[in-house]
Amino acid sequence: MASAPIPAGLEVPFVTERLRNGLAVVVAPLPGVPVVTVDVTYDVGSRVEEPGRTGLAHLFEHLMFEGSERVPKGEHARLVTSAGGVFNGTTTEERTNYFATLPAEALELGLFLEADRMRALDLTQENLDRQREAVKEEKRLRIDNQPYGLSFQEADSLAYESFAYRHPVIGSMEDLDAASLADARDFHRRHYSPANALLCVTGDVEPAAALQAVREQFGELPARERPAPVEVVEPPPAGERRLSVTDPHALFPALHLDVKAPPRRHGDLLALAYVEKVLGGGESGRLWRRLVKDEERALSLSISVDERRGPSLLRVFAIARDGVGLDLLEREIREDLARVAGDGLSPREMERARRMLEADAVRALQTSQSVAFVLSEYGLYDGEPGLFRDDLGRLLSLTAAEVRDAAARLLRPEAYSVVEVRPGAEGTAGAEA
C-alpha cells in the first residue's frame, strides 16, 4: 500500500526524550491559545488482567485521584479546577491515561501532580473500599441498568477467544470485592513505573523549557522494571458465532453484528474506515439512510471500528423499530456488507469517505488534548509518535480496489459474531455454536 503526503497543517512537530528512569517524554508545541495539556498514559489496560482479578486497571484509575504523598486527598481536583483547568482519566482494554488541560502558566503544577502520584500514591484500605464502592456504583449506573449495556459485554465475549478481550474493562462484582490492598500496592509497583508510561505535553510551550520542567519533576523518580508485554493473539475466525440474550431494560429488540478484524495499523483495518464511513458515516451513510430514514426499519444504527493492539472489531449495532423483526434487520445489514465485499465502493463514495476521514483527522488534531492522545498512543504502542503521519498518509491514499480487496478478505460470515438482544427478564436465553 502506498503512502502519501498528509494535508498541510497536520504535521504536528514534536520532540522526544527518554529519562534515565525509562519515562518516555513527548513535547509538542502548538501555537495559538495559551493552554497546555499534560497527559500520562500507562501501558496498562484490562488486557493485562487475569481471571479472578478483573477490573483492577479501571479501579486503579479511581485510586489515582485519592491523593499522594505531597498532594492531600481532594487537592488534585481543587488545584486543577481553581487553576482554570479540567482533568480526567480513562481506562480501556489497552491503556490507562490521566490528563489535565490548564492555562499555560500552570504547566509545572500539572507535571507536579502527575509526578507525585506516579512516585508515591497514597494507597489505603479506606481509599480502596471507597473507590471499590464507587466503581460498583458506576457499573450499576452505566452498564447493568442501561438498556443494552450488558449486551456490549456479551458481544465482546462472543467475538473473542482470549481472556484479555473477553472480559469487560469494568470487571466483575466478585473480582472487585476480592481486590485487596496488597493487590493494589502490587499493581502500582508493577504497572505504574516510569518505564511503563509515556508523558506527553502539548500546547503553548517552548520545548526546551518544557523538557527541563519535566526533568525537574520526574527525573528523580526511581527506575523500576517494566512488566513483560502482553500479546493478544487469536486464531483466525473459524465460523460464525451466535448468541441470543434478553435485556430487562431494553424496550426494543436490537442486534450486534461484529466482524473480527486485524490489529491497529494493519492496512486492511485502515480500509475498514472507508466501509464505516460509507455505510454508517455518522448518520448519513447509505445503510443508515436506508434502514433508519428511508425504510424506517431501525430506530438507530451505528457502525464503528473498535481498534485494538490485538484483533480489532468492526461493530454494527442496530435497534429495531417496533414490529420489525431482527431477522429482517440482520439480512439487510449482511446484504450490504456482502455487497461491499463483492463490488467495493463507487468512486464517488470513496471520494466522500476520503474527505470525511481527512476531516476526522483534522478534528482529532485540533486541541492540545486530542493531539496528546494521538501522540501518546503511537509513542507508547509503537515507540514512534510520528507514525500517526504515516498512517494518515496511508489511509488517505487507499484506492477503491484496495478497499474492495480488504473488504473481501474481512467481511466473511465466518468472521461474524451476532448477538440478538430481546426485551425480557434477565438472563441469557441460549447460545449456539
Binding site: 480501556t92 509545572e108 452505566r142 464511513k277 458515516g281 494518515l392
Partner: protein
C-alpha cells in the same frame, strides 16, 4: 472507562472543554467523599504559576453586505479547517401564540431540503468537503453551525446560503421530524429535571417569551410545512442575520464566496418584534410539582439577572462561580462535601439577549429537602452580606478565564462565541475583552452583585417531588403553590 476508537478519528463526542469539565465532574461525582472536608496543609513544594499569558487578540474583519447581512471573518491560518456560523434573530421567543416551541421544529427541518438539494444531497455535499452542519434554536436566535475542510470553504458557504435562502420543508421530512420530536418529548417528560425546568421557567417568566422550554405535544401536532415556511420567512432574512467564518481562509477569496452565495438573499415584510426586557425578580415564591412516589426531590432556585451589556454582568458571573458555579464553590462544599445532602448541586448562569438567569439545581433525598433549601438560602444571602476572600476571588477568576481559554482552542467554538455575543447585543471585540473584564472584577463588585441578584428573598423556588412527603419541609419557608406537571 472509555471505548476504544481510532486515534486519528477520536471524535465520538467532539470533546469540547465544556464536555470535559462535565466529564471531570462526573468522574468525581462517581467517587463520593473523594474530597475530604477537613483542611489539610497544601504541599510546600507546589510549583508557583508562571507569568500569565494573554489570549492572542484575533483580527476580526467586519463588513456588511448591501442586503444587511453582517459578516465577521476571523482568519486563523495554519490549521486546514473552516467553521461558519449563521445566526438569525428570532428564536423561540418570537414563536406565535399557540405555536410556542415551533422554533425548535424549524431548526430540525430547515436543512432537510432546499430548492436545489434534497436532504440526501445536502448530506452528501457535506461529506464531499468533510463537513458537518447542525441547526439549533435558542430563545433569541436560530443558529446554523457548520465546518469543513479548508479546501471546501466556498462550497460550505454555498450550502449554508442554500439552507438560509431556499429551504423547502418537504412534507415527509417534516413528518419524520415531528415523530422524532414527539419521541424525545416523551422521554424528557419522564425526568424530574425536565418537569422542574418547565415549571421554573413559567414561574420565573410568567407570560414573557422566555418561558418556552420545549414545544408541547399539541404544538408539534399542529406544525405543518406551511407554518414552518411562514416562520422561516420571518426569521431567515439578511437584515437580521450574522455570518461568522473562522479558520484557515483567505479574506479576499472568502468575501468573494460570501458575496456570491449570500448577495442575492432578500428579506420581506416587517422586521421581527423586539423581545421585551426580562421581568424583574418576583420575590420568594415557592412552587411544588407533585411526582408521587419520588424518593428524591429536584430543587431549582433562581431569578433573572443582568444582561450581558449591563455593568455588573461580569461581577455577577464571578459571584456565581464563588457561590455554586464551580467545583469547590461554597454551596458545593457545603451541601455536597460537608453535609452529603447531594452529589450534584450546580449553580447555572445562562445569558440571553434580554437578561440572564441564575439557577441553582440540586437533586436531594426527600428527608433533606428542607435542610438543603436552608443551606441554599444561607449561601445566597452570604453572597450579599459578606465579601469573598482574596483566595476565593482569585480562584473563581482563574476558573472563568481558564475555561474560556480552553474553549477558544476550538475554532468552531470561537465562531460560536462570536455569534452568541452578537445575539446578546455585544460587539466582536468582546471576544478579546472577556479575560481582562473578568480579571478586573473586585471583591466589592462581587458583594454588590450579591446584594443585587443573590439575596434569597428575591428567588423563585421550584420543588419537584412527592408532594405528601416534602410539603411539610418546603412550607417552612413560605406559602406553597401547587403546579401541575
Amino acid at each position: 472507562m472509555k471505548k476504544n476508537s481510532t486515534a486519528l478519528r477520536a471524535r465520538a463526542t467532539r470533546a469540547t472543554p465544556a464536555t470535559l469539565a462535565l466529564l471531570a465532574a462526573v468522574a468525581l461525582l462517581a467517587a463520593p467523599g473523594a474530597l475530604a472536608s477537613e483542611a489539610k496543609p497544601l504541599p510546600k513544594e507546589l510549583p508557583p504559576f508562571g507569568p500569565d499569558r494573554p489570549l492572542p487578540v484575533p483580527t476580526i474583519a467586519q463588513s456588511t453586505l448591501p442586503n444587511g447581512l453582517v459578516v465577521w471573518l476571523v482568519p486563523r491560518p495554519g490549521f486546514p479547517k473552516v467553521s461558519a456560523v449563521l445566526a438569525v434573530r428570532g428564536g423561540t421567543a418570537v414563536d406565535p401564540a399557540g405555536l410556542e416551541g415551533i422554533g425548535e421544529l424549524l431548526a430540525r427541518t430547515v436543512n432537510e431540503g432546499t430548492a436545489k438539494r434534497t436532504s440526501r444531497q445536502i448530506a452528501e455535499d457535506l461529506q464531499a468537503i468533510g463537513g458537518e452542519m447542525n441547526v439549533r434554536a435558542g430563545d433569541d436566535a436560530v443558529v446554523i453551525a457548520s465546518s469543513a475542510l479548508a479546501t471546501g470553504a466556498a462550497r460550505l458557504l454555498d450550502l449554508v446560503a442554500d439552507v438560509a435562502q431556499r429551504a423547502t420543508f418537504p412534507k415527509e421530512e417534516v413528518e419524520l421530524a415531528k415523530g422524532n420530536a414527539l419521541q424525545e418529548l416523551a422521554a424528557q417528560e419522564s425526568t424530574p429535571e425536565f418537569l422542574a425546568r418547565k415549571a421554573f421557567a413559567s414561574a420565573v417568566y410568567g407570560s414573557h417569551p422566555y418561558h418556552v422550554v420545549a414545544a408541547t405535544r399539541e404544538v408539534i401536532g399542529r406544525t405543518t410545512p406551511e407554518l414552518l415556511k411562514k416562520e422561516y420567512a420571518r426569521r431567515f432574512r439578511p437584515d437580521q442575520a450574522l455570518l461568522v467564518v473562522v479558520g484557515d481562509l483567505s479574506e479576499a477569496a472568502t468575501k468573494t464566496a460570501i458575496d456570491r452565495a449570500f448577495g442575492a438573499w432578500k428579506g420581506e415584510g416587517a422586521p421581527l418584534p423586539e423581545t421585551p426586557p426580562s421581568p424583574p425578580a418576583r420575590g420568594r415564591e415557592i412552587y411544588l410539582v407533585d411526582r408521587p412516589g419520588s424518593v428524591q426531590s429536584t430543587l431549582m432556585v433562581g431569578r433573572p439577572g443582568p444582561k450581558a451589556t449591563d455593568p455588573g454582568y461580569y461581577d455577577a458571573l464571578v459571584a456565581n462561580t464563588i457561590y455554586a458555579g464551580a467545583f469547590g464553590s461554597r454551596l458545593v462544599q457545603n451541601i455536597r462535601e460537608e453535609k452529603g445532602y447531594t452529589y450534584s448541586p450546580r449553580g447555572g448562569f445562562n445569558t440571553y439577549r434580554e437578561g440572564s438567569l441564575l439557577q441553582t439545581r440540586a437533586d436531594v433525598r426527600n428527608e433533606v429537602t428542607g435542610a438543603t433549601l436552608l443551606e441554599v438560602f444561607y449561601e445566597l444571602d452570604r453572597m450579599a452580606a459578606t465579601k469573598p476572600t482574596a483566595d476565593e476571588l482569585a480562584q473563581a477568576k482563574r476558573y472563568q478565564t481558564g475555561l474560556y481559554l480552553l474553549r477558544n482552542q476550538i475554532q468552531g467554538a470561537v465562531a460560536g462565541t462570536l455569534a452568541a455575543n452578537w445575539v446578546n447585543g455585544l460587539p466582536p471585540e468582546t471576544l478579546a475583552g472577556f479575560v481582562p473584564k473578568i480579571d478586573a472584577v473586585t471583591a466589592a463588585g462581587v458583594e454588590e452583585a450579591g446584594r443585587k441578584v443573590f439575596l434569597s428573598g428575591t428567588q423563585t423556588v421550584v420543588v419537584v417531588g412527592d408532594a405528601t412527603a416534602v410539603r411539610p419541609e418546603v412550607s417552612l419557608f413560605g406559602p406553597v403553590k401547587d403546579l401541575q406537571p
